[in-house]
Symmetry: C2
Subunit: 205 residues, 2 copies
């Protein structure tokens, strides 16, 4: 009757500050999440520790993991592979712990296919919110800046469709508070809670 | 492009402590909810203030409100009417504020029919959680107490089906924290947020 942990996918457009928010989330004392460390073929930078920052692997090792279906998602950036080990994620969830992935939008798509019940959080740039406020306040006047920004905004808004929640990263601390609230709320969802109680009743029949 | 407020319905079996949790929720400093004061035909008790604790009305006045469709929900208990004025709820939501109703399970059903998009929170007795723990820990042994409690538990669990969230009222403070997290999360739901951004784009076409 133990509750299974949640899979929390934190993603968003590049440059939005996913890494900063994720780090802040794990630096807080009362955080009860587990972080899924990524695997990469890029060489360690100074100060980076294997098994803490990344699991560092060779290309051959990484490609074997792909073939063996050991990766929940992976992508190649500027000649290096990055991926999420599936076993760790599954084991953590089975142990009743919530696990956080901080990944790119393309990776999030792959995870959604495999874990449709995951909790998908889109980190949105504050510039999107600023753009909205600007449009509201300026009236009918049109500026070049807004026009250029609108094209990018359109893409960002389309990206959101895959996600359950949108968290604006206006301030790292506020973004963390919102993410923690989302996770807490998710644990109170009636489907989850009622399922546990119903199991209890069935066990008693 | 102003976001509409949420309708938050706090309900649960009688005796679960809805009133206590609701009061604690509004005593906190940073609460941004509005509380919908109920209308009743029962006479004011000592210290109760009209327009603060309840709106006190005569039976004739109350029955006129029913006829005129001015009540979001109502019920009769031991000869007295209790109801929720619909205008206040609508106006508060339109002003972008979240409004909380603390009502009985029967009333919550009526509200769900009129506001299917409301945020329905079921406050569950800690005895349900205790029962679950007891069943898990005791193994196969059966006690009369558990059998009696199971019938009641079954009803409580069936009641949950109407709700979006279940909050166990083990400690008033913890229950309040969960409710606040649920409301915060709800404001980050992709459907709500993306809708606002899409409106922004449409306004620019």
């Amino acid at each position: 009757m133990k509750e299974k942990g949640l899979l929390i996918v934190l993603s968003g457009p590049s440059g939005v500050g996913k890494g900063t928010v994720r780090k802040a989330l794990f630096e807080q004392e009362n955080t009860q999440f587990e972080y899924s460390i990524s695997i990469t073929t890029r060489p360690p930078r100074e100060g980076e520790v294997d098994g803490v920052d990344y699991f560092f692997k060779t290309r051959e090792e990484f490609e074997r993991l792909i073939k063996e279906g050991k990766l929940l998602e992976y992508a190649e950036y500027v000649g290096n592979y990055y991926g999420t080990p599936v076993d760790y994620v599954k084991e953590t969830m089975d142990a009743g712990k919530d696990v956080v992935l901080e990944i790119e939008v393309q990776g999030a798509k792959q995870v959604r296919e495999k874990f449709p019940d995951g909790l998908f959080i889109f980190l949105a740039p504050p510039s999107l919110e600023e753009l909205k406020n600007r449009i509201v306040s300026r009236g009918t006047e049109t500026e070049e800046l807004i026009i250029n920004r609108l094209e990018e905004a359109k893409k960002e808004i389309e990206m959101m469709d895959l996600y359950d929640y949108v968290v604006v990263n206006d301030q790292v601390e506020l973004a963390c508070e919102r993410i923690k609230a989302i996770v807490k709320a998710e644990h109170c969802r009636r489907e989850r809670v009622a399922k546990m109680y119903k199991k209890m009743l069935e066990g008693e029949k």
